[in-house]
């Protein structure tokens, strides 16, 4: 009897906490590991997925909207502003962006502003305008308004590098419940773990979410050199200096005229 009450209470809590019906997302990435080798010039990954109906009710509520957010390993970057002082251009002001993603791609099937209202987007941090980019301001760390000149310049510079990206056409629905997207990794992509968050919306309401991840690693010769430089700095330096001497000596032998 007591167990039955407990079960009923649990069911009641579970139902009231989550949405009454919830679709499930199943996604698959073409490749979970991007290897940076000596001929690496960037790579494009493909993510496929389907929207599965809720297991109990079997209900689907199309049309759906989808937002995929990919965040690279965290970095701290300083944005500096130049100003003319005594005729020359000098860095006069700077802001530090603390623990921001080194890579950020927001891919959707239509502009995020049309997918959900501002409050929802802000709460879920969806879209470049709503993504939290904390700045160090004096002793505090906080995000500023989206039209803050430092924030705008930071995003603009990262976009120019291909590291930050927002595309409202990147996600395509093959059928109302099957979708695909291409994730472009530029050549200058930082190594580390990348989190991929897939969020599903229906009629402006958040419905479901799933996560996956990918890893960018240096491989082969590139990894060997990078590891050696990091772990055996002194030996690596001596080897490089020795290489310089050898090449210098070799050239003088090859080109000797007397």
């Amino acid at each position: 009897m007591r167990r039955l009450v407990a079960t009923l209470a649990f069911l009641l809590v579970a139902c009231s906490a989550g949405p009454a019906v919830a679709e499930r997302l199943v996604v698959s990435l073409s490749n979970h590991r991007v290897a940076v080798t000596s001929n690496f010039v960037g790579e494009e990954l493909v993510l496929f997925g389907t929207i599965e109906p809720d297991s109990t009710t079997g209900q689907l509520r199309p049309p759906y909207d989808l937002v995929i957010t990919i965040t690279g390993p965290k970095q701290t970057l300083r944005t500096r502003r130049k100003q003319r002082v005594l005729g020359i251009w000098v860095n006069v002001d700077s802001r530090e962006f603390v623990s921001v993603p080194s890579y950020l791609a927001i891919l959707s099937n239509r502009p995020v502003a049309e997918i959900a209202d501002q409050d929802t987007l802000r709460k879920l941090q969806i879209g470049l305008n709503y993504f939290l980019l904390p700045q160090r301001i004096g002793p505090d760390v906080a995000d500023t308004v989206t039209d803050d000149p430092f924030r705008q310049s930071f995003v603009r510079l990262q976009r120019q590098q291909g590291l930050y990206r927002e595309s409202s056409t990147a996600v395509t629905f093959l059928t109302p419940t099957v979708f695909r997207t291409a994730i472009a990794m530029p050549a200058a992509v930082p190594t580390g773990t990348y989190a991929i968050e897939v969020e599903l919306f229906s009629q402006g309401k958040f419905v479901a979410r799933t996560n996956t991840a990918l890893e960018v690693i240096k491989a082969g010769f590139e990894q060997y050199v990078a590891d050696a430089a990091r772990d055996y700095g002194l030996l690596y330096g001596m080897a490089t200096a020795l290489m310089a001497l050898l090449i210098g000596w070799f050239a003088s032998v090859v080109f000797r005229r007397d």
Partner: protein
């Protein structure tokens, strides 16, 4: 053909970098300088971070100055005693420079100081070289003696104490200016990421009256030792030396240097100095332009750390 650089973390075109190595090598062989003041800005221009550029160029300069030093050694055209004397003060200068480098970096004004240092040094030295060599060219036109070594024309530098005799260079000078020059070259080199050959050669000629026969060889020995140790120091402390980039630059550099040296030997000394002066001055103006003209983007990013 693109190749990914493991430390600089970006792909570059092998032929572009090889071509840069050849071109700078040609110039360095022609004038007997390392060419760091040309190579470092070029690497930054193709997108390599200044820190990696400065660290990697040092190994490139080590390679090309070693080639040069060997050929001057064969001709007995270098003064080891003088080079060692300069080096002893150069190490102190380098250490002081590295210390200041770290301090300025923390203040976010390193770029400005490097820019100003390049402008002042290159325009002043370039201007002086142009002036001096034009005078020399005019003197030879008029049929006067073109030699720089005027016996008996001693300056106050020759009145200083602690005199030393350098047999190979046939000079008898005080140790004080030798140390001062060595210190200055080490200091400037550490801050600006250059070997300092273009500074050292005229200083040795004008202040110490080192004959042109031994000056370039001696300068190359000094450059070789400072740059080889700079490579090791940069690799051990900051892990910023890109061996793949260095290798491509070196191969281009040593080949270019051989052809440059042949061209240089065919030219008259004062013509050569005039050309080098013009080159140094032009690079100085380029840096001045960058400081004075409004940049395309007032904002720039700097990597502070991960996490």
């Amino acid at each position: 053909m693109q190749i990914y650089l493991p430390i600089a973390d970006l792909p570059v075109n092998v032929f572009l970098v090889l071509g840069m190595g050849l071109a700078v090598g040609y110039i360095s062989g022609m004038f007997g300088i390392g060419g760091g003041f040309l190579m470092t800005p070029l690497l930054i221009f193709i997108g390599i971070s200044p820190a990696v550029a400065v660290a990697t160029v040092s190994s490139h300069i080590a390679a090309s100055s070693f080639t040069g030093a060997i050929s001057y050694w064969r001709k007995r055209a270098l003064d080891v005693a003088l080079a060692m004397m300069l080096l002893s003060a150069g190490i102190v200068g380098t250490a002081t420079g590295v210390w200041l480098f770290t301090e300025l970096r923390a203040l976010d004004q390193l770029d400005l100081v490097i820019g100003l240092a390049y402008v002042t040094l290159l325009t002043v030295v370039g201007g002086m070289m142009i002036y001096e060599s034009v005078q020399a060219v005019l003197r030879t036109r008029r049929g006067g003696p073109a030699t720089l070594r005027r016996p008996g024309s001693h300056t106050w530098i020759h009145g200083l104490p602690f005199k030393l005799r350098f047999k190979r260079s046939k000079i008898y000078v005080s140790a004080i200016p030798v140390w001062a020059i060595g210190f200055l070259i080490g200091f400037v080199g550490a801050i600006m990421g250059i070997g300092g050959g273009f500074l050292l050669v005229p200083m040795l000629i004008y202040f110490l009256r080192v004959p042109t026969a031994t000056v370039i060889g001696t300068s190359m020995v000094l450059t070789l030792i400072t740059m080889a140790s700079a490579t090791i120091m940069h690799a051990a402390t900051n892990h910023l030396v890109d061996a793949v980039l260095a290798l491509i630059l070196m191969v281009g550099g040593v080949i270019g240097a051989q052809f440059g040296a042949r061209t240089g030997q065919k030219m008259r000394g004062e013509r050569l100095r005039l050309l080098l002066g013009l080159l140094v001055f032009a690079v100085g103006l380029r840096f001045a332009y960058e400081l004075v003209v409004q940049p395309d983007d007032l904002y720039s990013l700097r990597y502070v750390g991960s996490g």
